[in-house]
Protein backbone atom coordinates (compact mmCIF):
# COMPACT_ATOMS: atom_id res chain seq x y z
CA UNK A 1 0.00 0.00 0.00
CA UNK A 2 2.76 2.38 1.03
CA UNK A 3 6.22 1.88 -0.31
CA UNK A 4 9.48 3.76 0.04
CA UNK A 5 12.25 3.13 -2.46
CA UNK A 6 15.73 4.28 -1.49
CA UNK A 7 14.53 7.52 0.04
CA UNK A 8 17.20 10.05 0.94
CA UNK A 9 16.29 13.17 2.88
CA UNK A 10 17.83 15.57 5.34
CA UNK A 11 18.02 18.96 6.94
CA UNK A 12 20.35 21.49 5.35
CA UNK A 13 23.75 19.92 4.85
CA UNK A 14 22.91 16.98 7.10
CA UNK A 15 21.59 13.84 5.51
CA UNK A 16 19.24 12.12 7.94
CA UNK A 17 18.02 9.27 5.74
CA UNK A 18 20.46 7.31 3.60
CA UNK A 19 18.33 5.37 1.16
CA UNK A 20 15.48 3.99 3.24
CA UNK A 21 13.25 1.38 1.63
CA UNK A 22 10.22 -0.07 3.32
CA UNK A 23 6.78 -1.51 2.63
CA UNK A 24 3.54 -1.22 4.52
CA UNK A 25 0.89 -3.77 3.56
CA UNK A 26 -2.78 -2.85 3.54
CA UNK A 27 -4.59 -3.32 6.82
CA UNK A 28 -1.49 -3.95 8.92
CA UNK A 29 0.25 -2.06 11.67
CA UNK A 30 3.90 -1.56 10.83
CA UNK A 31 6.32 0.04 13.23
CA UNK A 32 9.61 1.86 12.92
CA UNK A 33 11.79 1.50 15.98
CA UNK A 34 15.17 2.95 16.68
CA UNK A 35 17.11 5.22 18.98
CA UNK A 36 16.92 9.00 19.13
CA UNK A 37 18.06 10.55 15.88
CA UNK A 38 17.79 7.32 13.90
CA UNK A 39 15.54 9.00 11.36
CA UNK A 40 12.12 7.67 12.37
CA UNK A 41 10.34 11.00 12.42
CA UNK A 42 12.28 12.12 9.37
CA UNK A 43 10.93 9.13 7.46
CA UNK A 44 7.35 10.15 8.27
CA UNK A 45 8.04 13.76 7.42
CA UNK A 46 9.47 12.74 4.07
CA UNK A 47 6.42 10.61 3.30
CA UNK A 48 3.91 13.31 4.20
CA UNK A 49 5.74 16.00 2.27
CA UNK A 50 6.78 18.11 5.24
CA UNK A 51 10.39 17.47 4.26
CA UNK A 52 11.62 17.30 0.66
CA UNK A 53 12.75 13.91 -0.62
CA UNK A 54 16.18 14.29 -2.20
CA UNK A 55 16.41 10.93 -3.88
CA UNK A 56 14.21 7.88 -4.19
CA UNK A 57 10.47 7.46 -4.44
CA UNK A 58 7.40 7.39 -2.22
CA UNK A 59 4.55 5.28 -3.60
CA UNK A 60 1.05 5.11 -2.11
CA UNK A 61 -1.54 2.79 -3.62
CA UNK A 62 0.55 2.66 -6.76
CA UNK A 63 0.62 6.44 -7.13
CA UNK A 64 3.83 8.39 -6.77
CA UNK A 65 3.73 10.93 -3.94
CA UNK A 66 7.36 11.99 -4.03
CA UNK A 67 7.66 15.71 -3.25
CA UNK A 68 4.00 16.55 -3.54
CA UNK A 69 2.82 19.31 -1.23
CA UNK A 70 1.59 18.13 2.20
CA UNK A 71 -2.01 19.13 1.55
CA UNK A 72 -2.03 17.15 -1.72
CA UNK A 73 -0.71 14.08 0.07
CA UNK A 74 -3.43 14.32 2.73
CA UNK A 75 -5.96 14.48 -0.09
CA UNK A 76 -4.59 11.14 -1.36
CA UNK A 77 -5.69 9.47 1.89
CA UNK A 78 -2.48 9.48 3.87
CA UNK A 79 -2.75 11.19 7.25
CA UNK A 80 0.12 12.17 9.53
CA UNK A 81 -0.18 12.79 13.26
CA UNK A 82 2.97 14.79 13.89
CA UNK A 83 5.20 14.39 16.91
CA UNK A 84 4.30 16.50 19.90
CA UNK A 85 0.61 16.29 19.01
CA UNK A 86 0.30 19.75 17.46
CA UNK A 87 -3.36 20.31 18.00
CA UNK A 88 -4.92 23.73 17.38
CA UNK A 89 -4.80 24.90 20.97
CA UNK A 90 -7.04 27.94 20.53
CA UNK A 91 -9.86 26.02 18.89
CA UNK A 92 -12.28 23.82 20.78
CA UNK A 93 -12.09 20.04 20.69
CA UNK A 94 -15.00 19.89 18.27
CA UNK A 95 -13.48 22.53 16.00
CA UNK A 96 -10.25 20.58 15.98
CA UNK A 97 -12.11 17.51 14.81
CA UNK A 98 -13.90 19.52 12.16
CA UNK A 99 -10.57 20.84 10.91
CA UNK A 100 -9.62 17.21 10.36
CA UNK A 101 -12.44 16.91 7.86
CA UNK A 102 -11.28 20.08 6.15
CA UNK A 103 -10.94 18.50 2.72
CA UNK A 104 -14.26 16.67 2.84
CA UNK A 105 -17.62 17.91 1.67
CA UNK A 106 -19.94 14.99 2.56
CA UNK A 107 -21.75 16.29 5.62
CA UNK A 108 -23.39 12.98 6.50
CA UNK A 109 -20.09 11.14 6.33
CA UNK A 110 -18.37 13.76 8.45
CA UNK A 111 -21.11 13.57 11.07
CA UNK A 112 -20.93 9.80 11.29
CA UNK A 113 -17.14 9.85 11.48
CA UNK A 114 -17.31 12.45 14.22
CA UNK A 115 -19.66 10.14 16.09
CA UNK A 116 -17.23 7.27 15.58
CA UNK A 117 -14.32 9.31 16.92
CA UNK A 118 -16.28 10.47 19.96
CA UNK A 119 -17.43 6.89 20.50
CA UNK A 120 -13.86 5.63 20.33
CA UNK A 121 -12.51 8.37 22.59
CA UNK A 122 -15.21 9.08 25.20
CA UNK A 123 -12.85 11.45 26.95
CA UNK A 124 -13.19 13.79 23.98
CA UNK A 125 -16.98 13.70 24.12
CA UNK A 126 -16.85 15.00 27.68
CA UNK A 127 -14.81 17.92 26.46
CA UNK A 128 -16.17 18.89 23.06
CA UNK A 129 -16.50 22.57 23.96
CA UNK A 130 -13.26 22.88 25.85
CA UNK A 131 -10.35 24.76 24.36
CA UNK A 132 -8.00 22.09 23.09
CA UNK A 133 -4.95 23.74 24.66
CA UNK A 134 -6.37 23.02 28.10
CA UNK A 135 -6.53 19.25 27.59
CA UNK A 136 -4.03 16.94 29.24
CA UNK A 137 -1.24 15.49 27.16
CA UNK A 138 -2.98 12.18 26.69
CA UNK A 139 -6.25 13.81 25.73
CA UNK A 140 -4.42 16.00 23.24
CA UNK A 141 -2.92 12.88 21.70
CA UNK A 142 -6.37 11.30 21.45
CA UNK A 143 -7.60 14.48 19.84
CA UNK A 144 -4.73 14.48 17.35
CA UNK A 145 -5.50 10.88 16.38
CA UNK A 146 -9.23 11.58 16.25
CA UNK A 147 -8.65 14.62 14.11
CA UNK A 148 -6.56 12.61 11.67
CA UNK A 149 -9.33 9.98 11.50
CA UNK A 150 -11.84 12.70 10.57
CA UNK A 151 -10.14 12.96 7.21
CA UNK A 152 -11.10 9.30 6.66
CA UNK A 153 -7.57 8.32 5.65
CA UNK A 154 -6.67 4.90 4.31
CA UNK A 155 -3.28 5.04 5.98
CA UNK A 156 -2.44 6.70 9.27
CA UNK A 157 1.09 7.66 10.29
CA UNK A 158 1.60 8.17 14.01
CA UNK A 159 4.71 9.83 15.36
CA UNK A 160 5.55 8.97 18.97
CA UNK A 161 2.00 8.72 20.33
CA UNK A 162 3.36 7.85 23.79
CA UNK A 163 5.62 10.88 24.09
CA UNK A 164 5.18 12.63 27.42
CA UNK A 165 1.96 10.87 28.33
CA UNK A 166 0.96 9.20 31.57
CA UNK A 167 1.64 5.44 31.32
CA UNK A 168 -1.99 4.58 32.01
CA UNK A 169 -3.15 6.69 29.07
CA UNK A 170 -0.43 5.26 26.82
CA UNK A 171 -2.00 1.87 27.26
CA UNK A 172 -5.44 3.23 26.37
CA UNK A 173 -4.12 5.02 23.32
CA UNK A 174 -2.41 1.91 22.00
CA UNK A 175 -5.55 -0.12 22.55
CA UNK A 176 -7.44 2.46 20.53
CA UNK A 177 -4.90 2.30 17.74
CA UNK A 178 -5.37 -1.47 17.51
CA UNK A 179 -9.14 -1.08 17.71
CA UNK A 180 -9.23 1.46 14.87
CA UNK A 181 -6.95 -0.76 12.83
CA UNK A 182 -9.31 -3.72 13.26
CA UNK A 183 -12.64 -1.93 12.94
CA UNK A 184 -11.82 0.32 10.01
CA UNK A 185 -9.17 -1.85 8.41
CA UNK A 186 -6.97 1.21 8.66
CA UNK A 187 -3.33 0.77 7.75
CA UNK A 188 -1.03 2.23 10.40
CA UNK A 189 2.62 3.21 10.22
CA UNK A 190 3.76 3.72 13.78
CA UNK A 191 6.92 5.42 14.96
CA UNK A 192 7.62 4.72 18.59
CA UNK A 193 10.53 4.93 20.97
CA UNK A 194 8.87 2.51 23.30
CA UNK A 195 9.92 -0.44 21.15
CA UNK A 196 8.40 -2.95 23.54
CA UNK A 197 4.92 -1.54 23.12
CA UNK A 198 5.31 -0.89 19.42
CA UNK A 199 6.37 -4.46 18.65
CA UNK A 200 3.52 -5.70 20.80
CA UNK A 201 0.78 -4.10 18.70
CA UNK A 202 2.38 -4.28 15.25
CA UNK A 203 2.66 -7.13 12.79
CA UNK A 204 5.84 -6.03 11.10
CA UNK A 205 8.75 -3.87 12.19
CA UNK A 206 11.73 -2.04 10.82
CA UNK A 207 14.75 -1.15 12.91
CA UNK A 208 16.37 2.13 11.92
CA UNK A 209 19.86 3.19 12.85
CA UNK A 210 21.50 6.45 11.75
CA UNK A 211 19.26 6.80 8.74
CA UNK A 212 19.49 3.23 7.48
CA UNK A 213 17.25 0.21 7.82
CA UNK A 214 19.19 -2.21 9.97
CA UNK A 215 16.67 -5.01 10.30
CA UNK A 216 13.21 -5.82 9.11
CA UNK A 217 11.12 -8.73 10.24
CA UNK A 218 7.81 -9.80 11.68
CA UNK A 219 7.35 -8.09 15.01
CA UNK A 220 7.31 -11.29 17.07
CA UNK A 221 10.65 -12.27 15.55
CA UNK A 222 12.14 -8.84 16.21
CA UNK A 223 11.02 -9.13 19.82
CA UNK A 224 13.03 -12.27 20.29
CA UNK A 225 15.98 -11.12 18.23
CA UNK A 226 18.93 -10.88 20.65
CA UNK A 227 20.39 -7.80 18.97
CA UNK A 228 17.09 -5.93 19.15
CA UNK A 229 16.58 -7.05 22.72
CA UNK A 230 19.97 -5.79 23.74
CA UNK A 231 19.74 -2.47 21.96
CA UNK A 232 16.08 -1.45 22.29
CA UNK A 233 14.21 -3.68 24.67
CA UNK A 234 16.65 -3.42 27.54
CA UNK A 235 16.75 -7.16 27.99
Amino acid sequence: MLELLNVTAGYGSITALHGVSLRVEKGTIVTLVGANGAGKSTTLRAISGLLPVREGKVLFEGKELTNKRPHQIVACGLAHVPEGRMIFSNLTVLENLQMGAYLRRDRAGIASDQEFVLETFPRLRERTWQQAGTLSGGEQQMLAIGRALMGRPRCLMLDEPSLGIAPLLVKTIFEKIVQVNRELGLTVLLVEQNAHLALEVSQFGYVLETGRILLSDRSEHLKTNPAVQAAYLGA
Binding site: H71, P82, M86, I87, F88, N90, E95, Y102, W129, Q131
Partner: protein, 331 residues
Protein backbone atom coordinates in the same frame (compact mmCIF):
# COMPACT_ATOMS: atom_id res chain seq x y z
CA UNK B 1 -19.31 40.65 23.50
CA UNK B 2 -20.55 37.90 21.26
CA UNK B 3 -20.87 37.86 17.52
CA UNK B 4 -24.58 38.45 17.73
CA UNK B 5 -24.42 41.63 19.74
CA UNK B 6 -21.66 42.77 17.41
CA UNK B 7 -23.83 42.13 14.40
CA UNK B 8 -26.69 43.93 16.10
CA UNK B 9 -24.59 46.99 16.80
CA UNK B 10 -23.35 46.88 13.24
CA UNK B 11 -26.89 46.70 11.87
CA UNK B 12 -27.98 49.65 14.01
CA UNK B 13 -25.02 51.67 12.88
CA UNK B 14 -25.64 50.81 9.24
CA UNK B 15 -29.21 51.99 9.67
CA UNK B 16 -27.96 55.23 11.15
CA UNK B 17 -25.49 55.69 8.35
CA UNK B 18 -28.00 54.99 5.62
CA UNK B 19 -30.31 57.46 7.32
CA UNK B 20 -27.61 60.05 7.12
CA UNK B 21 -27.33 59.38 3.40
CA UNK B 22 -30.97 59.82 2.65
CA UNK B 23 -31.87 62.51 5.16
CA UNK B 24 -30.69 66.06 4.94
CA UNK B 25 -27.76 66.35 7.29
CA UNK B 26 -28.55 69.92 8.40
CA UNK B 27 -32.12 69.18 9.29
CA UNK B 28 -32.91 65.79 10.71
CA UNK B 29 -29.65 64.19 11.61
CA UNK B 30 -28.68 64.98 15.18
CA UNK B 31 -25.05 64.10 14.70
CA UNK B 32 -24.79 66.91 12.18
CA UNK B 33 -24.90 69.30 15.09
CA UNK B 34 -21.62 68.06 16.49
CA UNK B 35 -18.70 70.35 15.91
CA UNK B 36 -16.15 69.86 13.17
CA UNK B 37 -13.38 68.85 15.51
CA UNK B 38 -15.29 65.90 16.92
CA UNK B 39 -16.46 65.02 13.41
CA UNK B 40 -12.88 64.86 12.20
CA UNK B 41 -11.84 62.64 15.07
CA UNK B 42 -14.76 60.32 14.40
CA UNK B 43 -13.73 60.04 10.75
CA UNK B 44 -10.13 59.35 11.70
CA UNK B 45 -11.35 56.75 14.18
CA UNK B 46 -13.33 55.06 11.43
CA UNK B 47 -10.33 54.96 9.13
CA UNK B 48 -8.22 53.55 11.96
CA UNK B 49 -10.84 50.88 12.58
CA UNK B 50 -10.57 49.75 8.94
CA UNK B 51 -6.78 49.67 9.19
CA UNK B 52 -6.74 47.77 12.46
CA UNK B 53 -9.42 45.25 11.50
CA UNK B 54 -7.71 44.53 8.19
CA UNK B 55 -4.27 44.15 9.76
CA UNK B 56 -5.87 41.86 12.29
CA UNK B 57 -6.53 39.27 9.57
CA UNK B 58 -2.81 39.02 8.93
CA UNK B 59 -1.31 39.61 12.39
CA UNK B 60 -4.14 38.36 14.56
CA UNK B 61 -6.05 35.58 12.85
CA UNK B 62 -3.38 34.13 10.61
CA UNK B 63 -0.54 34.78 13.04
CA UNK B 64 1.84 36.35 10.55
CA UNK B 65 3.65 39.52 11.52
CA UNK B 66 3.33 42.32 9.02
CA UNK B 67 4.86 45.74 9.57
CA UNK B 68 4.03 47.14 6.14
CA UNK B 69 0.39 48.08 6.47
CA UNK B 70 1.07 51.77 5.83
CA UNK B 71 2.53 50.78 2.47
CA UNK B 72 -0.77 49.27 1.34
CA UNK B 73 -2.59 52.29 2.71
CA UNK B 74 -0.32 54.51 0.61
CA UNK B 75 -1.07 52.50 -2.52
CA UNK B 76 -4.79 52.97 -1.89
CA UNK B 77 -4.47 56.65 -1.09
CA UNK B 78 -2.38 57.50 -4.13
CA UNK B 79 -4.27 55.11 -6.37
CA UNK B 80 -7.62 56.69 -5.61
CA UNK B 81 -6.23 60.22 -5.65
CA UNK B 82 -4.73 59.53 -9.05
CA UNK B 83 -8.26 59.04 -10.32
CA UNK B 84 -10.08 61.91 -8.61
CA UNK B 85 -7.35 64.54 -8.51
CA UNK B 86 -4.77 63.87 -11.22
CA UNK B 87 -7.19 62.61 -13.85
CA UNK B 88 -10.32 64.06 -12.32
CA UNK B 89 -11.61 65.89 -15.38
CA UNK B 90 -11.21 63.01 -17.80
CA UNK B 91 -12.73 60.52 -15.34
CA UNK B 92 -15.67 62.79 -14.57
CA UNK B 93 -16.31 63.20 -18.26
CA UNK B 94 -16.48 59.45 -18.78
CA UNK B 95 -18.91 59.17 -15.86
CA UNK B 96 -21.11 62.01 -17.13
CA UNK B 97 -23.97 59.56 -17.65
CA UNK B 98 -24.43 59.59 -13.87
CA UNK B 99 -25.44 63.23 -14.05
CA UNK B 100 -25.00 65.15 -10.82
CA UNK B 101 -23.92 61.97 -9.02
CA UNK B 102 -20.81 61.73 -11.16
CA UNK B 103 -18.34 63.09 -8.56
CA UNK B 104 -19.67 60.73 -5.94
CA UNK B 105 -19.59 57.82 -8.40
CA UNK B 106 -16.00 58.63 -9.23
CA UNK B 107 -15.16 58.72 -5.53
CA UNK B 108 -16.60 55.26 -4.94
CA UNK B 109 -14.88 53.97 -8.05
CA UNK B 110 -11.57 55.49 -6.97
CA UNK B 111 -11.87 53.86 -3.54
CA UNK B 112 -12.38 50.48 -5.18
CA UNK B 113 -9.50 51.04 -7.59
CA UNK B 114 -7.28 52.06 -4.68
CA UNK B 115 -8.31 48.95 -2.77
CA UNK B 116 -7.70 46.68 -5.73
CA UNK B 117 -4.29 48.21 -6.42
CA UNK B 118 -3.39 47.68 -2.77
CA UNK B 119 -4.62 44.08 -3.00
CA UNK B 120 -2.40 43.59 -6.02
CA UNK B 121 0.51 45.02 -4.05
CA UNK B 122 -0.39 42.62 -1.26
CA UNK B 123 -0.24 39.72 -3.70
CA UNK B 124 3.08 40.92 -5.09
CA UNK B 125 4.67 41.16 -1.68
CA UNK B 126 2.87 38.17 -0.21
CA UNK B 127 3.79 35.52 -2.75
CA UNK B 128 7.56 35.71 -2.34
CA UNK B 129 7.81 36.83 1.29
CA UNK B 130 5.28 34.58 3.03
CA UNK B 131 7.72 31.70 2.82
CA UNK B 132 9.43 33.55 5.65
CA UNK B 133 8.28 33.41 9.23
CA UNK B 134 8.19 35.61 12.30
CA UNK B 135 10.90 38.23 12.55
CA UNK B 136 12.05 37.70 8.98
CA UNK B 137 8.59 38.30 7.59
CA UNK B 138 8.30 41.44 9.74
CA UNK B 139 11.56 42.77 8.32
CA UNK B 140 10.54 42.06 4.72
CA UNK B 141 7.13 43.71 5.11
CA UNK B 142 8.74 46.67 6.83
CA UNK B 143 11.15 46.96 3.91
CA UNK B 144 8.30 46.68 1.44
CA UNK B 145 6.39 49.51 3.10
CA UNK B 146 9.45 51.70 2.88
CA UNK B 147 10.01 50.76 -0.77
CA UNK B 148 6.50 51.95 -1.62
CA UNK B 149 7.03 55.19 0.24
CA UNK B 150 10.38 55.89 -1.42
CA UNK B 151 9.00 55.00 -4.84
CA UNK B 152 6.17 57.50 -4.43
CA UNK B 153 8.59 60.07 -3.11
CA UNK B 154 10.58 59.78 -6.33
CA UNK B 155 7.66 59.71 -8.73
CA UNK B 156 7.31 63.25 -9.98
CA UNK B 157 3.89 62.63 -11.51
CA UNK B 158 2.52 61.76 -8.06
CA UNK B 159 3.89 64.93 -6.56
CA UNK B 160 7.13 63.44 -5.28
CA UNK B 161 8.19 64.52 -1.82
CA UNK B 162 5.94 67.56 -2.01
CA UNK B 163 2.91 65.35 -1.88
CA UNK B 164 -0.37 65.52 -3.69
CA UNK B 165 -2.68 68.41 -2.83
CA UNK B 166 -6.14 69.39 -3.88
CA UNK B 167 -7.79 66.01 -3.53
CA UNK B 168 -11.55 66.60 -3.40
CA UNK B 169 -13.03 66.22 0.10
CA UNK B 170 -15.51 63.47 -0.53
CA UNK B 171 -15.00 61.49 2.65
CA UNK B 172 -17.82 62.00 5.12
CA UNK B 173 -18.57 60.40 8.43
CA UNK B 174 -21.21 58.25 6.75
CA UNK B 175 -18.87 56.92 4.10
CA UNK B 176 -16.10 56.22 6.57
CA UNK B 177 -18.25 54.25 8.95
CA UNK B 178 -20.07 52.50 6.17
CA UNK B 179 -16.74 51.17 4.90
CA UNK B 180 -15.63 50.37 8.46
CA UNK B 181 -18.74 48.34 9.09
CA UNK B 182 -18.38 46.58 5.77
CA UNK B 183 -14.81 45.67 6.62
CA UNK B 184 -15.77 44.50 10.12
CA UNK B 185 -18.57 42.42 8.63
CA UNK B 186 -16.41 40.95 5.85
CA UNK B 187 -13.50 40.10 8.11
CA UNK B 188 -15.80 38.75 10.79
CA UNK B 189 -17.74 36.47 8.51
CA UNK B 190 -14.61 35.39 6.63
CA UNK B 191 -12.84 34.33 9.80
CA UNK B 192 -15.87 32.64 11.33
CA UNK B 193 -16.66 30.60 8.23
CA UNK B 194 -15.58 27.01 7.77
CA UNK B 195 -13.08 28.24 5.21
CA UNK B 196 -11.89 30.90 7.60
CA UNK B 197 -11.10 28.45 10.34
CA UNK B 198 -8.10 27.64 8.20
CA UNK B 199 -6.60 31.03 9.13
CA UNK B 200 -6.83 30.15 12.82
CA UNK B 201 -5.37 26.72 12.10
CA UNK B 202 -2.39 28.27 10.33
CA UNK B 203 -1.85 30.52 13.34
CA UNK B 204 -2.17 27.79 15.95
CA UNK B 205 0.08 25.29 14.25
CA UNK B 206 1.30 25.51 10.72
CA UNK B 207 2.60 21.94 10.48
CA UNK B 208 -0.61 20.48 11.86
CA UNK B 209 -2.57 22.67 9.45
CA UNK B 210 -0.56 21.27 6.55
CA UNK B 211 -1.16 17.79 7.88
CA UNK B 212 -4.92 18.48 7.76
CA UNK B 213 -4.65 19.22 4.06
CA UNK B 214 -4.67 23.00 4.36
CA UNK B 215 -2.70 24.87 1.75
CA UNK B 216 -1.00 27.18 4.21
CA UNK B 217 0.73 29.33 1.63
CA UNK B 218 -2.59 30.07 -0.05
CA UNK B 219 -4.17 31.00 3.26
CA UNK B 220 -1.35 33.34 4.14
CA UNK B 221 -1.45 35.03 0.76
CA UNK B 222 -5.25 35.33 0.99
CA UNK B 223 -4.95 36.99 4.38
CA UNK B 224 -2.39 39.38 2.98
CA UNK B 225 -4.45 40.26 -0.07
CA UNK B 226 -7.71 40.78 1.86
CA UNK B 227 -5.89 42.82 4.50
CA UNK B 228 -4.19 44.95 1.85
CA UNK B 229 -7.49 45.55 0.04
CA UNK B 230 -9.14 47.06 3.10
CA UNK B 231 -5.99 49.01 3.95
CA UNK B 232 -6.24 50.44 0.41
CA UNK B 233 -9.83 51.48 1.04
CA UNK B 234 -8.73 53.16 4.26
CA UNK B 235 -6.00 54.94 2.33
CA UNK B 236 -8.50 56.20 -0.25
CA UNK B 237 -10.83 57.47 2.46
CA UNK B 238 -7.94 59.15 4.22
CA UNK B 239 -6.76 60.90 1.05
CA UNK B 240 -10.25 62.24 0.35
CA UNK B 241 -10.63 63.30 3.96
CA UNK B 242 -7.38 65.20 4.48
CA UNK B 243 -7.29 66.37 0.86
CA UNK B 244 -3.54 66.23 0.84
CA UNK B 245 -1.22 63.21 0.95
CA UNK B 246 2.54 63.08 1.40
CA UNK B 247 4.81 60.04 1.39
CA UNK B 248 5.88 60.83 4.97
CA UNK B 249 2.33 60.22 6.11
CA UNK B 250 2.74 56.53 5.29
CA UNK B 251 6.02 55.91 7.03
CA UNK B 252 6.96 52.95 9.18
CA UNK B 253 5.53 54.77 12.19
CA UNK B 254 2.04 54.64 10.70
CA UNK B 255 2.37 50.86 10.39
CA UNK B 256 3.46 50.67 14.00
CA UNK B 257 0.40 52.69 15.05
CA UNK B 258 -1.83 50.07 13.48
CA UNK B 259 0.14 47.19 14.99
CA UNK B 260 -0.28 48.82 18.41
CA UNK B 261 -4.06 48.94 17.90
CA UNK B 262 -4.13 45.27 17.00
CA UNK B 263 -2.00 44.22 19.96
CA UNK B 264 -3.89 46.45 22.36
CA UNK B 265 -7.26 45.20 21.17
CA UNK B 266 -6.25 41.56 21.25
CA UNK B 267 -4.83 39.59 18.36
CA UNK B 268 -7.63 37.92 16.49
CA UNK B 269 -10.46 39.72 18.26
CA UNK B 270 -12.36 41.89 15.78
CA UNK B 271 -14.39 43.56 18.51
CA UNK B 272 -11.34 44.27 20.64
CA UNK B 273 -9.36 45.70 17.76
CA UNK B 274 -12.28 47.97 16.82
CA UNK B 275 -12.50 49.26 20.37
CA UNK B 276 -8.75 49.80 20.53
CA UNK B 277 -8.66 51.70 17.24
CA UNK B 278 -11.43 54.08 18.36
CA UNK B 279 -9.96 54.41 21.84
CA UNK B 280 -6.45 55.16 20.66
CA UNK B 281 -7.69 57.76 18.17
CA UNK B 282 -9.47 59.59 20.95
CA UNK B 283 -6.60 59.15 23.39
CA UNK B 284 -4.30 60.67 20.82
CA UNK B 285 -6.52 63.76 20.77
CA UNK B 286 -7.01 63.87 24.52
CA UNK B 287 -3.26 63.89 25.00
CA UNK B 288 -2.67 66.55 22.37
CA UNK B 289 -1.70 68.97 25.12
CA UNK B 290 1.09 66.65 26.18
CA UNK B 291 2.66 66.86 22.73
CA UNK B 292 5.72 64.62 22.50
CA UNK B 293 4.95 62.94 25.79
CA UNK B 294 2.04 61.21 24.11
CA UNK B 295 4.42 58.54 22.92
CA UNK B 296 5.47 57.90 26.50
CA UNK B 297 1.83 57.47 27.42
CA UNK B 298 1.28 54.97 24.60
CA UNK B 299 4.37 53.02 25.58
CA UNK B 300 3.23 52.92 29.21
CA UNK B 301 -0.23 51.82 28.13
CA UNK B 302 1.25 48.94 26.16
CA UNK B 303 3.50 47.89 29.04
CA UNK B 304 0.61 47.95 31.51
CA UNK B 305 -1.52 45.95 29.12
CA UNK B 306 1.22 43.37 28.56
CA UNK B 307 1.45 42.85 32.30
CA UNK B 308 -2.24 42.83 33.14
CA UNK B 309 -3.88 41.46 29.98
CA UNK B 310 -1.31 39.89 27.67
CA UNK B 311 -4.10 38.59 25.43
CA UNK B 312 -5.22 42.15 24.68
CA UNK B 313 -8.27 44.16 25.67
CA UNK B 314 -10.87 41.69 24.43
CA UNK B 315 -8.58 38.91 23.23
CA UNK B 316 -9.69 35.52 24.45
CA UNK B 317 -13.10 36.86 25.43
CA UNK B 318 -14.39 36.48 21.92
CA UNK B 319 -13.21 32.89 21.66
CA UNK B 320 -14.90 31.01 18.87
CA UNK B 321 -16.55 28.63 21.30
CA UNK B 322 -18.59 31.44 22.80
CA UNK B 323 -19.81 32.46 19.39
CA UNK B 324 -21.33 29.14 18.58
CA UNK B 325 -24.87 28.27 19.58
CA UNK B 326 -25.53 25.52 22.05
CA UNK B 327 -22.29 25.59 23.93
CA UNK B 328 -23.08 22.66 26.19
CA UNK B 329 -23.10 24.23 29.59
CA UNK B 330 -19.87 24.37 31.49
CA UNK B 331 -16.84 22.73 30.00
Amino acid sequence: MGARSLVLIAALAVGLVSFCFTGHPEAAWPLAQIDDYLLNILILAGINVILAVSLNIVNGHTGQFSLGHAGFMAVGAYGSAALTQLNGKACLASLSFLGSAAPLGLFVLSLLVGGLLAALAGLAVGLPSLRLKGDYLAIVTLGFGEIIRVMIQNTESLGGARGLAGIPNHTTLGWTWLVSLISIYCVGSLVNSTYGRGFLAVRDDEIAAEAMGINTTRYKVTAFVVGAFFAGLAGGLYAHFIGYVTPEGFSFLKSVDVVVMVILGGMGSTAGVTVAAIGLTFLNEALREAEQYRMVAFALLLIILMITRPQGLLGGLGGLARWLPGKGGKS
